[in-house]
Symmetry: C2
Subunit: 384 residues, 2 copies
């Protein structure tokens, strides 16, 4: 759903807020019908045939808008590229979106087919299906579309195409050289992408990169985010006895890898979520001008906390936007022995923590990883 | 395998070390054949029909030795009881063993049928199958028997029966009133047992309880353990955001339940594995006489550490036997988000630690649980 709003955003940027509402609503109707057609083509990232059928649709619909298109072969599924270039010397904008979706478990959908979009309106705390015929009348901007990839990320592709239509209808000349790269394996971590980008350096060269994929702001206002945090990962395993031992026979004697891991992890961060490894936040300096911009984001802290159902946030930054300017140190997974019904009275042989470090421009992932590794070694651990 | 040795132990106790080796070996041959027959009756604790067929075998074989037998109905599978009482006024010994086994995954066995015992001898680092016909010749005490429940815990039952035979053959009068209770759900935590014991208080009343189930000492010497540590359990869940959040969007803001759990757990124990919650070890006082006995156990620390593949033990006690005289606080399981291949870049919604507390005579499980809960509350957590 989150992408639905972006449509208004792109249209607004293109046409200005004074543009007649009626014209926008007409284009929304066309866009929604086009999205229904596009979503109807299954896009399971794991099925190569799905990807090819989507590329056929994309080729046709980008060509309709005057784009030159190209299929970029990779080590995995092919990527789709399109270019609209009326003025080669103009600055170029490269748009990134993706058309693959996660695999579907139909039993998790309360609609017949996740690829058949349903139109719904708010009803109490849930959503009620409404007839498509209602689309012929006035568009209600509070309606929502439900279907696989409707928001993530086919919606933005269709919005993009319809924004081009609106610009044409209003005889607005595009002042940029427009390039579009559409990913086919975003839901599988985009493994072939980096190599393909290097191999097509010239083709993809641009002055600006715009990624039409991300969360909608809780205020529902159109959102532009400058910069995205990168990522690097670490996996930490502490070892206890070589095989799990009976806790009655060896509890209090065989070292428990879970407690070892707990000590290790808690030595990295204070109780407020701040990394206490020296130098971790080096190089990050948020000046007053930046602070002013960050503070101007209309974050409603009560809404954010209610949405997350948390009482207090971590205190890396003084407020949400500032927190995102720092690298993180996040435990994304923990495991040792068994929990729940399967729990067994053992001293486990190992405990694992999966860590991800979110990176900002000033932070070098390798430097941060080295700091963490050095810290672990300093606690007396041997690192392989 | 571990129980194999107990046979020699019981025989030795009964007959004295001067007893002719030949007579013991003859009885071992009879015992092994009897064990083959007993193990051949599947004893999956989850299949009630399995349990009934084992009870038939037990009734017949205990009656053969002059025991009076009884089936004790419970809320689960029935228990088996037998009594050999020549002198009601003599002190009574109650033996506990169990005849159920864990469910079998035949693919995990490198023999055709886990219920068909195979006889093996050491071969390099592994074991080599030998013919049963060899049993007719001299018994090699280094042979091993491989089959479901051969050691845990059908072996001790057969050893017990054969020890009775040997006593009779040597006209040794049993100076005790012998009672035997055989559990049918030990591998499922013996849930019906406590109630059944209360309901059969009179029947089971005894001066001593001997449990023929437990590990063999690494020295391979016959082992008597005085006292067994009990157990109580706790499950600790820390909560982060109400649903897992994208670590790029909410890392550094939504509290990470894994770090919260790590801080909580590491506040309970020091780096040496000693519980630092005040009063946890209260009431435990090991006097010099006890210490002397504990120190006389021939534990070979190098062997223990090599077997566990550990460098240093936890330091709750000054040595292994002393460590077992204290209650433990053991993390038997940890989980949060996903680890390994399935790891996802999220701030998980929760982290779970499964704790077991091993109890000694002086420690009250409820008191220790309360100490842990109070400690958690003191860290600012709300406990449900």
């Amino acid at each position: 759903m989150k992408k639905y709003f972006t449509l208004f955003f792109i249209l607004s940027l293109s046409l200005g807020f004074a543009q007649k509402r009626a014209q926008i609503d007409d284009q929304i109707k066309i866009g929604i019908e086009e999205l229904r057609e596009f979503v109807l083509i299954p896009n399971d990232a794991l099925i190569l045939d799905n990807i090819d059928k989507n590329i056929e649709w994309l080729s046709e619909n980008f060509k309709n808008r005057g784009f030159q298109t190209k299929i970029i072969k990779t080590e995995g599924a092919p990527l789709f590229f399109a270019e609209l270039s009326k003025n080669k010397s103009a600055p170029s904008l490269l748009f990134y979106m993706h058309f693959d979706g996660q695999s579907v478990d139909p039993s998790k959908w309360n609609q017949k087919n996740p690829y058949i979009i349903e139109l719904k309106e708010k009803s109490g705390l849930g959503w009620k299906k409404i007839e498509w015929s209602q689309l012929k009348e006035e568009v209600d901007h509070e309606w929502r579309l439900f279907g696989r990839s409707t928001s993530d990320d086919k919606g933005p592709i269709v919005m993009f195409l319809n924004a081009i239509n609106l610009l044409n209808k209003n005889n607005k000349e595009i002042q940029f050289n427009i390039k579009v790269i559409l990913d086919s394996e975003e839901e599988k971590s985009s493994k072939p992408l980096p190599k393909a980008v290097e191999e097509n350096r010239e083709l993809l060269m641009a002055d600006f990169l715009i990624i039409n994929d991300g969360p909608v702001h809780h205020s529902n206002k159109p959102t532009l985010v400058f910069g995205c945090r990168g990522i690097t990962t670490l996996s930490i395993t502490t070892f206890g006895p070589i095989k799990p031992q009976h806790s009655g026979h060896y509890g209090n004697y065989a070292p428990n890898p879970g407690f070892r891991l707990a000590h290790l992890l808690s030595s990295m961060k204070d109780e407020n979520g701040k990394v206490i490894i020296e130098g971790y936040y080096n190089g990050i300096d948020i000046d007053e001008a930046t602070n002013k911009i960050l503070r101007s984001v209309p974050d409603d802290i009560t809404t954010i906390h209610n949405n997350l159902a948390i009482k207090n946030p971590e205190l890396v930054g003084n407020y949400y936007q500032e927190a995102l300017q720092y690298p993180s140190l996040n435990i994304r997974g923990l495991s040792s022995g068994w929990t729940g019904e399967k729990a067994r009275t053992i001293v486990p042989d190992r405990a694992v923590a999966e860590i991800d470090i979110r990176l900002v421009m000033e932070s070098d992932g390798n430097r941060l990883k080295k700091l963490v590794k050095d810290h672990i070694a300093k606690q007396g651990y041997f690192i392989t």
